[in-house]
Amino acid sequence: MSGPRSGSTVGRVRALVRKEMRQLFRDPKTKRIIFVSPIIQLLLFGYAVNTDVRQVPTQVVDHDRTAVSRSLVEAMTASDYFRVVGTSDDPGTIGEALDRGDAVVGLRIPPGFAADVAGGRTGRVQILVDGSNSNTATVAQGYAQRIVNRFAQRTAEDRRLLPTGGIELRARAWFNPSLESRVYNVPAVCGVIVLLMSLLLTAMGVVREREMGTLDQLLVSPLAPRELMLGKTLPVAAIALVQLGIVIAVALLWFGIPLRGSVLLLLAASALFILAGLSVGLLISTVSRTQQEAFLTMFLFILPAIILSGFLYPIETMPEIFQTLTLANPLRHYLEVVRGVFLKGAGSTDLLVQLGVLGSMAVGGLLTASWRFRRMLG
């Protein structure tokens, strides 16, 4: 038995992977974090992240009280868009309701409205919108105008004020005919959750070993830095893929989001994305001495990463410099793939650019991480 024994890379990595898995699955708390928290996050985000404007609380002041004015109010509330929360004769109630936030829209029909309409004059309807939530206000304003305009059109046609004909706009929303924001947001939430989890598990996993002193014990062994990196990241990558499967299942079965494209393409892109995310986690672990520092650094990374991804906020309307910044964000490219595959049934030729970028980010990220890792350990 003289001379050193020599194991193989495969053997060493396998030993490390087995150890990681055992640690991850021994602790019930960790198990919960891995498997239950993505579901809870998806449910929470899936319901909360919602830019649909429906059932806007509306305060109505009808000074006219005629059949015409009532039918206008009727036209407003018959849609799913407005919900009357109060009716009054007092014009001041609109201001109060908007000030208190009880209503977002005020509808005021002036006295003599029906007479104006009947007499060939123009009946003016006041629509007061609380602009403090600019998104809701924009959409609500658009709906209200549309409803009143249609009402006007119909009235004009009934009274033969208009020649027949005109343009009929046949609008169709592709990929999401009922225009629900959930269909757009839920697949993206899946991507964000997987990024969060893979960052958390890698960064914390490495830093915890350093805090505990077990990292040194591994480093004096024949385990090469590259093997250590592999042993640390393979289990996380596998878990992240499983998590992705879970959240996608919830998205399909619970939220009823359609998956129109190829699952295989989604998996391939996800694998690249997870690798890119892991390498960021590894990089964070090389600049953090404690789990606390790692967590904060992660937070500082994830915040701009989410804002600059097109997850919640459209990229096209950002200032030029932020649009450019989004190009360096793996989440941006991944979300384009996820949304493309889910909603549009896009294929690999449609997403070639995104896949290429994700692939190079994964490779570049891992190379950088392994370089930093070697330097940190050396």
């Binding site: 038995m1 003289s2 001379g3 050193p4 024994r5 020599s6 194991g7 193989s8 053997g11 060493r12 396998r14 030993a15 490390l16 087995r18 150890k19 055992r22 640690q23 021994r26 602790d27 505990m212 002193g213 077990t214 040194d216 014990q217 591994l218 480093l219 004096v220 062994s221 024949p222 385990l223 090469a224 350990l377 050396g378």
Partner: protein, 280 residues
């Protein structure tokens, strides 16, 4: 040792690859952290089968030196060889030939005893029958019986320490680095631990151990005293005490009684002459 074969005897005949070279040798080894010189041009050499003690106050540079020898830190200057291999350029080859156990208990508390053993066996390429033999040996040595399913974190500290020692030598390395291996352990467990170390040395292994327990220093064949990053004395325990005794004899009133000063007195006197321990 009892009638059953001593655990150490099963690891006999651990030979270094370059058996003519000293197991550990450093020349002008230096490590700086910014402006701070943690280890300052230290030179020494350790013989095969020797228990080489590294003594010094906190912050003297003991741990930094061990980290350089085990490849956890790169030297800023100077050279060093472990098992005849260059510590700068031949780290991978060195790793297979050394065992390391640090002051921080560094097995995984959330793995069982058996799982920890398997992990390090896997890392060092110990498999098959060899693994079975080594596992049985570690369990016996650590007096853990055959209960491999216990969570390591739940073991008493003395047992943890011996288990850590066992996994550190699972690949039967010819050279063993121990960085304050017994800190926090009660005197009885510490005594047992040193019996094991003695056995390893008797079987031809080289032990490089740092400590700040004076009674442990007595177990060492030779002692290197570190202070403020410098090596201030290197001799056998007896040699150090005799030298200090001679010196003290020349200074009236210091050691009125006959006999040699204790190692602790030697240590304190040497450090004070050097200008006190470094804070931090």
């Amino acid at each position: 040792m009892t009638g059953s074969p001593s655990p150490a005897t099963t690891v006999a005949s651990a030979a270094a690859p370059h058996s003519d070279a000293p197991p550990v040798r450093v020349r002008e080894l230096t490590r700086r952290f910014g402006d701070f010189v943690a280890v300052d041009a230290v030179s020494f050499s350790v013989d095969r089968g020797e228990i080489f003690g590294f003594l010094g106050p906190n912050g003297a540079g003991k741990t930094t030196t061990i980290k350089m020898l085990t490849g956890l830190l790169s030297p800023s200057a100077g050279e060093g060889w472990v098992a005849g291999l260059d510590i700068r350029h031949e780290r991978p080859a060195i790793r297979q030939r050394i065992g390391y156990m640090s002051q921080k208990f560094s097995l995984y508390p959330d793995l069982t005893v058996g799982e920890n053993i398997e992990l390090f066996a896997g890392l060092y390429g110990v498999a098959g029958d060899a693994l079975d033999i080594r596992r049985a040996w570690i369990l016996e040595m650590a007096e853990l019986g055959d209960d491999v399913r216990r969570l390591t974190g739940a073991l008493p500290l003395g047992f943890k320490q011996r288990l850590a020692l066992g996994t550190a030598v699972i690949h039967e390395p010819p050279i063993l680095f121990l960085d304050e291996p017994t800190s926090g352990v009660d005197p009885v467990a510490r005594r047992r631990f040193w019996d094991l170390i003695d056995g390893f040395a008797a079987a031809g292994r080289t032990i490089f151990v740092s400590t700040h327990y004076m009674e442990e220093a007595e177990y060492c064949h030779r002692l290197a005293l570190m202070n403020r990053g410098r090596l201030i004395a290197l001799d056998t325990p007896r040699g150090l005490r005799e030298a200090e005794g001679l010196r003290a004899a020349g200074t009236p009133g210091t050691h009125p009684s006959s006999g040699l000063p204790s190692l602790e007195d030697v240590f304190v006197a040497l450090v004070q002459r050097e200008g006190g321990a470094r804070s931090g």
